[in-house]
């Protein structure tokens, strides 16, 4: 089970909450202060993308954010329920909406070294991780 798991209706007003919770749990897990801004932004982008996919597809459902404190990495999963629209395709261009989606993914991949955009149980799944500092080294 995830260390902290969050599920919210796919609405824009909840994305800020997800960002704040993710940053707080990451800090507690030992993610370096200097990258907490990146964590906050990357989670926000992943959640915004999920919300956008739900809204554009007219699909109800929830966004799941799992915050997982592993031994040496802090893992975040953001999963939507927007079906097949969730995994980016190069084959069709939907204009401005795709631009926004592309921009969001560009920010995530530009920020996070370890990131994977894949398919979840009922939509897309973005998996990201950051190193955690070893408390025994830091004292």
């Amino acid at each position: 089970m995830a260390t902290v798991e969050l599920r919210f209706s796919a609405l824009p007003e909840h994305v800020r909450t997800a960002r704040l919770v993710a940053a707080a749990v990451a800090r507690r897990a030992g993610v370096d202060e200097s990258v907490l801004d990146e964590v906050r932004l990357a989670v926000g982008e992943a959640c915004s993308r999920a919300v956008g996919l739900h809204r554009r597809g007219g699909i109800d459902g929830a966004v799941r954010v799992a915050l997982i404190d592993q031994e040496k990495r802090f893992l975040i999963e953001v999963e939507d329920e927007a079906g097949s629209a969730s995994v980016p395709s190069r084959e069709h261009d939907e204009g401005a909406e795709t631009d926004e989606d592309t921009l969001g993914l560009a920010v995530i991949t530009g920020l996070v070294e370890d990131v994977e955009v894949t398919r979840g149980a009922s939509g897309g799944l973005i998996r990201m991780s950051w190193p955690v500092s070893d408390p025994s080294v830091d004292g």
Binding site: P12, R19, S48
Partner: protein, 113 residues
């Protein structure tokens, strides 16, 4: 933290002071403001982002949309930003090449290039 917006004019430039967080929830308010300014005939915009605490790709999309609108009227959209964490997002997405970014409103007002 919500989004705060205020506008004032300096000569033929319209300065939009933005404060707070620009994200998927608040970005539509900024979009409305920019659309309204352009519809009212303000084609030389300066978006002062010194009070912005958070910006994501939705906010970037709104700024790009604003740029497209003013360019359709041969106008300009300049940004004022000194915050590294905000500038980083423009760099990652390659938008530093698209937007003129200035250190101060004064610099943006006097810029003509």
């Amino acid at each position: 933290m919500d989004l705060s917006l205020s506008t004032h004019t300096i000569g033929d430039r319209t300065v939009v002071e933005v404060g707070g967080e620009i994200d998927v929830y608040t970005a539509p308010k900024l979009r409305e403001q920019l659309v309204e300014l352009v519809n009212d005939g303000n084609y030389h915009l300066i978006v002062d982002m010194e009070g912005v605490d958070f910006l994501d790709s939705t906010g970037l999309g709104v700024l790009v949309g604003g740029l497209k609108r003013v360019r359709a009227h041969e106008g300009s959209l300049r940004l004022v930003c000194n915050q590294e964490r905000i500038l980083k997002i423009f760099r990652i997405t390659g938008l530093t090449k698209v937007f003129p970014i200035h250190n101060s409103v004064e610099d943006a007002v006097s810029a003509t290039d």
